[in-house]
């Protein structure tokens, strides 16, 4: 009697579940033995099942549980995310991307390592840095920085307002960058001047070349900043005698996965301009210039160490 694989799998599964339920009696055990003996395929399926159980049993349970029982977004959500923004936005927006026309209303986002430039319908231009999300509503002349970092250029006199977690930035005839950090928002003005309002009714005028922090406790004071910090708009990461630790923390924003480094590397200095579209190459360059060893566990798990400690 030859049976199909699905039948055998089902029967084996039923036996296993019965056995594990703790309700199997002597007769069931005998029945199982008989089933296993009745066909080589049955015995083979039974052995496969035992191997399967063994594979699970050998895993460290807490690590395996945390990984395999992670919150599952569900297949549809995975598919949506896999297909990216394009799958979520209305057809009109797709059309405008292809033409490429301008945006009136959209929820934009970028993945880690991605950057995006989006022309807006009023002639303004929006750029999203890595892992960022911005909602655009031009009818209300309003942009909302949900996460990450954006640059906005408003050539016209009609103001656009950027809403952030800690207040608003009003820009007209100006160029400004807004970055959301964990506890604050940093507003850097490149050209023109912008008005920054906190949630408590205070505001400040920030001029080109100045930067201000906006946080729950209120507004900071405008201070000069180095425009090199905003090189991402041109796809470049620039360091001027920067601590390697700070540089790597910045670089990490652009890389999916985990980037780690030996604490002894923190204080090394970095100078140079690096293209952000190949961060692996930046790591290789650093390895050469600073005598580091780059260990690749996987592409998403990289450790930097001084070369000598690994020799």
């Amino acid at each position: 009697m030859s049976r199909t694989a699905p039948d055998v799998a089902r029967a084996a599964a039923q036996w296993l579940a019965l056995l594990e339920s703790g309700t199997a009696g002597e007769r069931d055990h005998a029945g199982l033995q008989q089933w296993r003996d009745s066909h080589p395929q049955h015995e083979q399926a039974w052995q496969k099942a035992q191997l399967l159980r063994q594979r699970f049993a050998e895993l460290p349970s807490s690590l395996a549980m945390a990984s395999l029982d992670r919150p599952q977004p569900g297949r549809r959500a995975v598919l949506k995310r896999a297909l990216g923004v394009a799958a979520l936005v209305p057809a009109a927006w797709l059309l405008s991307r292809q033409l490429p026309l301008d945006v009136w209303r959209a929820d934009l986002h970028t993945a880690t390592g991605e950057r995006k430039r989006v022309p807006l319908a009023d002639g303004s231009a929006l750029q999203l840095n890595t892992a960022s999300a911005v909602d655009v509503n031009l009818a209300q002349r309003r942009l909302t920085l949900v996460d990450g970092e954006m640059a906005l250029s408003v050539p016209g006199a009609a103001a656009l307002t950027v809403h952030t977690r800690y207040g608003q930035v009003v820009a007209s005839q100006a160029e400004v960058c807004v970055r959301q950090l964990a506890q604050a928002c940093v507003v850097s003005v490149l050209k023109g001047q912008v008005q920054v309002h906190d949630g408590a009714g205070h505001s400040a005028l920030v001029r080109g070349g100045q930067q201000i922090r906006l946080q729950a406790s209120g507004l900071g004071v405008p201070v000069p900043f180095d425009a090199l910090q905003l090189g991402w708009r041109d796809g470049v990461l620039t360091a001027q005698n920067q601590g390697l630790g700070d540089f790597l923390r910045e670089l990490d924003r652009y890389r999916p996965g985990v980037l780690r480094w030996d604490p002894s590397l923190e204080a090394l200095r970095v100078t140079g301009s690096f293209r952000l579209d190949d961060t692996d190459r930046i790591l290789s360059l650093l390895a050469t210039t600073h005598g580091l060893q780059v260990q690749w566990r996987t592409r998403y798990w990289v450790t930097l160490a001084p070369r000598k400690t690994l020799a």
């Binding site: 694989a5 699905p6 055998v8 799998a9 089902r10 084996a12 599964a13 039923q14 296993l16 579940a17 019965l18 594990e20 339920s21 703790g22 083979q44 399926a45 496969k48 099942a49 399967l52 159980r53 594979r55 699970f56 049993a57 895993l59 460290p60 349970s61 807490s62 690590l63 395996a64 549980m65 945390a66 990984s67 395999l68 029982d69 992670r70 599952q72 977004p73 297949r75 995975v78 598919l79 896999a82 297909l83 990216g84 394009a86 799958a87 797709l94 292809q98 993945a111 880690t112 390592g113 991605e114 999916p256 996965g257 985990v258 190949d278 260990q295 566990r297 996987t298 998403y300 798990w301």
Partner: protein, 172 residues
């Protein structure tokens, strides 16, 4: 997506012409969805490998790009599954006390095993998957699982049979 199905006519389609005509297009299609070039390059190679391995004769493809996108989408979904697993795994590792962290080799092997099992369990209902994991990884009995899930023990037994059947079907 309109760009996915723009028809192209190719004389004598074969895998090499398919590759030559559509590889860079597919790569940029993938890059837009992945946000980086290296994963896109990998996945586009994988897509062509799948096409090569599939029973579908390349010469009979009416809409090669639509077909590539279909295969590519499936790979994208798998890719995101693997990434979300890896992220969960790394997070769990980071929370371990230092003296419990496995060696680099072990970590890597473990991740590979977890990825294989994750794929094996893919497609199970979430509640079935969880019941199965509690039983296999934490050694919970059916009664405890029933209590945790607030269902009957009979239901748990049914869940477990479903999970075993699902896994064995893949393995047999």
């Amino acid at each position: 997506m309109n760009d996915a199905v723009s028809p192209t006519t190719t004389a004598e389609p074969s895998l090499s012409t398919l590759y030559r005509d559509h590889r860079s297009w597919l790569e940029s299609w993938l890059r837009r969805r992945l946000g980086n070039a290296w994963d896109a390059a990998d996945l586009s190679q994988d897509t062509f490998l799948r096409v090569l391995a599939s029973a579908q004769p390349v010469a009979q493809l009416q809409e090669p790009r639509a077909y590539l996108v279909t295969v590519g989408k499936r790979l994208l979904v798998n890719f995101h599954q693997r990434r979300s697993l890896e992220q969960a795994y790394l997070n769990a590792l980071a929370r371990l006390p230092d003296d419990c962290v496995p060696s680099p080799e072990q970590r890597w092997l473990l991740l590979e095993t977890l990825q294989a099992l994750d794929e094996l369990l893919d497609g199970l209902l979430p509640v079935v998957r969880r019941a199965f994991l509690w039983s296999q990884l934490e050694g919970l009995g059916y009664r405890e699982i029933a209590e945790r899930l607030k269902v009957s023990e009979r239901t748990v037994k049914r869940y477990m049979a479903q999970a075993y059947e699902h896994c064995l079907l893949v393995e047999l």
